[in-house]
């Protein structure tokens, strides 16, 4: 265990120095004490040397002061054209702030550099917090978990060193490098470990049953813990502290390690053991690709770092994926009898007698395997989890559930059982060897709790509406459908960041350094895990329109849709850079627009950082796997529309077309030229028309006729356009798309009640050729709202 102490001590020293930076900055009484602690703490040369070398590599200046943090997303640029590149240069700053204990608000960037006053409040809060750490035995000051969390909480929106590198990212990177060096002082190399737990989609999305929503949600939670367990096993085997985890979540993990032979061996052994287990547990539906790559230490601060990152992720891991279970071949080839398959996950290696009723309260419930039954039960209860304890012992008081990993023995590793105990309340007594994972929690007191020897935050995108029929449980699909506006249907949204691979591999240009890559992953995953929860639960506080100033600053018309909250949602999966969310169809649709607008504002409206999404709308009897498939295909269509798009009602448009936001880029330049003589209508796009008509409350019959006529027109138009598939830009094609059907629209409009016709903006805008592509989308939306 000596090595663990060496690596951990090196990391601790770096983190203590970072805390001292805060202490000096805020004039906390801790500053002298920390200086003494750091100086006296280690006479061990190895640690001193490692820390000094790491600090030198990362240009850590202990005498430096925190400053305003430039928005890292501003540095992302995928434009190759130099001239356009310079146009894309934005200037945003982060508001100096603290991450709130629970449901932190989405931090939108500022357009001006924050003033000194902006820092005063933050400095005051930091000082208060640091002064409280001063105890006789320096227990808190030697608590690496606690200090790292403090840095994350208070040091995410201030820079240290480079103006776009947050204090937490430079501190954690430096600590990680120091820890790796302490284990391997003479080397000129480091190792990057990357893992990818693939097959999550397959695993989750093949489920077809009622109650599938709950099972699905539990499965994605379970897989999040599998990822965590891989990280834990690696850190244990490699004797590294948590600071060496650059990123972990959503089936992906990145760890910084020393470049020694034993790391490679350990990585291979952990990989083999997990795959052996996955094979037994999930019939090979999941596979862990895990590998590492040595690189020169000096490259962590050069653009080459991103090259190693992508080489590892896209090449080395891809090789593993292409020959799954090659290392577990004997088990893989084992013949097993096949029986009647589980109705949920379709595994067929379980004896028929072992299948149980999925829902015990429903007499005709389907038969499912034990895991699926467990998942179904767990899924209903996953409404509130405050702490998860990772333990070697099976029994624990007060837990409401336990997930068990029974890792089998392999040639190199012993069999091992690990238990994850789930608790509704955070305050639990945890043995020293166990780890407390605090879910979405930035409450410092919780990390100080004397019963937690090791504690880390575990971020989960896990919002769910509570059932009003079964208190304390998650809302049921049929209950949700009843709450939908108009037609009683559910919506399924899948969405992810466009060009994520390129953003990481090329986006930062010459600045693709370890601290920046770490910062980028951290901020991306904050959004998809933490901020999405906040947005779903506390929309008013988190949607950008609430902050008028921001909306104005961003020069964007932030569409508000219905001003009500929309919390009838159930996150099935959210993390990394993507999400899969269900809910009432109308709220899912509106939530998608919320997410898009918030994300764009969060990333400083960078034209290279966009989202694409797909929504499918189905009744509750529709098999979930098909809904997932449909929304996945819809998302693909959105990607196919030049990205930055949403596919909804089988129609694909840019987000700004759906929202009706003026944006010259959304209209193709040739089409723009064709339509140039026409004045832009006041209402442009889809949502503005839906909104107007909803507000007018025109009555069922009018609305039904209008929708029918609009749909008929859309159909005729689509049919007429079929013959232009090969030549969409010909004069004839453009005339057909933009003009030929306007007479019918004029006729349809004339049939609307007088109060609608008095709305000149509505009337003239709908007759404008600019809006000709949107008839079907407008009609479908209104129809679903009124059915």
């Amino acid at each position: 265990m000596k090595q663990l102490r060496v690596a951990e001590k090196a990391a601790l020293q770096v983190i203590q120095e970072a805390i001292r930076v805060l202490a000096v900055w805020t004039n906390s009484k801790l500053k002298e004490k920390l200086s003494r602690l750091i100086a006296a703490g280690d006479n061990d040369d190895v640690i001193k040397k490692a820390v000094a070398q790491a600090q030198k590599l990362l240009s850590w200046n202990s005498k430096g002061e925190p400053k305003a943090l430039r928005l890292l997303f501003d540095s992302i640029n995928l434009e190759k054209d130099k001239e356009k590149k310079s146009q894309n240069q934005h200037q945003h700053y982060c508001q100096p702030d603290v991450i709130a204990e629970r449901n932190p608000k989405i931090p939108y960037p500022l357009e001006k550099e924050p003033s000194l006053e902006d820092f005063i409040k933050l400095k005051y809060e930091i000082k208060q917090e640091l002064d409280k750490l001063d105890d006789d035995r320096d227990r808190d000051l030697n608590n690496l978990s606690l200090l790292t969390l403090i840095l994350e909480k208070y040091g995410s929106f201030i820079s240290f060193g480079d103006s776009d590198v947050a204090l937490i990212d430079i501190a954690r990177s430096t600590a990680g490098v120091a820890a790796a060096l302490a284990n391997n002082p003479e080397s000129n190399n480091l190792t990057l470990i990357a893992g990818d737990l693939s097959g999550i989609q397959k695993f989750i999305y093949t489920i077809s049953s009622d109650g599938a929503l709950k099972s699905l949600r539990a499965r994605s939670f379970y897989l999040e813990l599998v990822t965590e367990e891989v990280v834990q096993q690696l850190l244990e085997a490699l004797e590294l502290p948590r600071t060496n985890v650059i990123y972990a979540g959503g089936g992906n993990l990145y760890i910084l390690a020393p470049a020694i032979e034993s790391v490679k061996i350990n990585v291979a052994e952990v990989r083999q053991q997990f795959n052996e287990w996955l094979l037994g547990e999930f019939q090979g539906k999941n596979f862990l690709a895990l590998d590492c790559l040595d690189f020169p230490i000096t490259d962590i601060t050069t653009e080459k770092f991103a090259d190693y990152w992508s080489e590892l992720t896209s090449k080395k891991l891809a090789v593993h994926k292409s020959r799954k279970f090659a290392e577990n071949i004997s088990k893989f080839l084992q013949e097993s009898d096949s029986y009647e398959p589980c109705k949920v996950c379709h595994r067929d290696d379980v004896e028929s007698a072992e299948l149980k009723q999925l829902n015990k309260n429903e007499p005709d419930s389907v038969l499912a395997c034990e895991t699926c039954c467990r998942m179904f039960e767990l899924g209903g209860q996953l409404l509130k989890v405050e702490v998860i304890v990772r333990s070697q012992s099976e029994n624990f008081e007060d837990k409401f559930d336990t997930l068990t990993f029974e890792l089998p023995a392999t040639d190199k590793r012993d069999a091992k059982n690990v238990y994850y105990h789930l608790f509704h309340r955070w305050k639990q007594i945890v043995p020293d060897n166990d780890t407390a994972l605090l879910v979405n929690d930035w409450n410092i007191e919780h990390y100080k709790f004397s019963q937690f020897k090791k504690s880390f935050p575990l971020l989960l995108g896990n919002y769910a509406q509570e059932s009003s029929e079964e208190k304390g449980l998650i809302i049921r699909a049929n209950e949700m459908a009843k709450k939908a506006k108009g037609v009683n249907r559910l919506g399924y949204l899948r969405m992810d960041v466009d060009n994520l691979g390129r953003i990481f591999a090329e986006g930062l240009g010459e600045n693709k350094t370890l601290p920046r890559i770490a910062g980028l992953s951290r901020q991306m995953s904050y959004f998809f895990k933490v901020y999405l929860n906040s947005l779903a639960e506390f929309r008013q506080e988190n949607f950008l329109n609430k902050n008028k100033l921001i909306a104005d600053i961003l020069h964007k018309k932030a569409e508000f849709l219905t001003p009500k909250k929309r919390d009838n949602l159930l996150f099935i999966y959210a993390g990394g850079d993507d999400l899969f969310v269900s809910g009432t169809w109308n709220e899912v649709v509106e939530f998608a627009f919320d997410i898009y607008q918030c994300f764009r504002a969060y990333t400083g409206n960078n034209p290279d950082i966009t989202l694409s999404g797909g929504i499918s709308i189905n009744d509750i009897k529709f098999p979930l796997y098909k809904a997932a498939e449909e929304s996945g295909e819809a998302e693909e269509k959105a990607k196919g529309n030049g990205k930055d798009s949403l596919s909804l009602f089988s129609q694909v448009f840019k987000w700004n077309e759906w929202l009706g936001i003026e944006d010259n880029k959304i209209i193709d330049s040739e089409i723009q030229k064709y339509l140039h003589s026409e004045t832009r209508p006041k209402l442009l796009g889809i949502l503005p028309f839906v909104e107007r008509l909803e507000q007018q409350d025109i009555g069922v019959n009018y609305s039904r006729n209008f929708v029918r006529n609009l749909l008929i027109t859309a159909e005729i138009q689509e049919k007429a356009l079929e013959k232009f598939e090969d030549n969409k830009k010909s004069e004839e094609a453009l005339g057909t798309r933009y003009y030929l059907h306007l007479p019918k629209i004029a006729y349809t409009l004339a049939r609307l009640p007088k109060n609608v016709l008095d709305d000149t903006e509505f009337r003239t805008s709908l007759k404008s050729p600019y809006n000709a592509p949107y008839f079907r989308a407008i009609a479908t939306w209104i129809e679903l709202l009124n059915r």
Partner: protein, 159 residues
């Protein structure tokens, strides 16, 4: 249907309201000439009538017909005949089979125009258009023109 009482207050004074149709008449008398001139100047049959121009013309012409108090039953025989030919063409796909019938559309219009003054402008426009129908594509454009005109006519409250 609730009558919006407020808008009554904002209706412009009577004389100015009367003056609007006056200018419209001048403008729309030109529209007949403009359409006919456009059609006569087409390089290669009615199919070369750009859709955008066609719709723009119909947008002015439809309301003009309403002003002239044209009712569609006055040209019913003509409209029915066009519809029959359209269905015919969809069925056979051969323009040759309806070629003669297309030529016979003109007398139907002339007959209607002779009986009803209101049918005269439509007659002028359509016969210019029929003269340019030499192919299936030309005929399709003719139908598009007629349907657009009628749609705008109805949108103005025409029956």
């Amino acid at each position: 249907m609730p009558e919006p009482t407020k808008s009554k207050v904002t209706i412009p004074p009577l004389n100015s309201r009367q003056s609007i149709p006056q200018t419209n008449v001048n403008k729309t008398q030109n529209i007949v000439e403009e359409i006919v001139k456009t059609i006569n100047g087409l390089p290669d049959g009615l199919k070369t009538y750009p859709i955008r121009d066609l719709v723009k013309h119909a947008e002015e012409f439809g309301p003009y017909l309403k002003q002239q108090r044209l009712e569609t039953n006055q040209v019913r025989k003509f409209l029915d005949a066009v519809n029959r030919l359209k269905a015919n063409l969809v069925e056979t796909g051969e323009f040759a089979k309806i070629k003669t019938e297309v030529v016979l559309l003109k007398p139907k219009l002339a007959y209607a125009a002779a009986r009803q003054k209101a049918a005269k402008p439509l007659g002028e426009v359509m016969s210019a258009a029929i003269d340019e129908v030499h192919s299936k594509e030309d005929f399709e454009r003719l139908v598009q023109l007629l349907e657009s005109i009628i749609a705008y006519h109805k949108a103005e409250g025409g029956k």
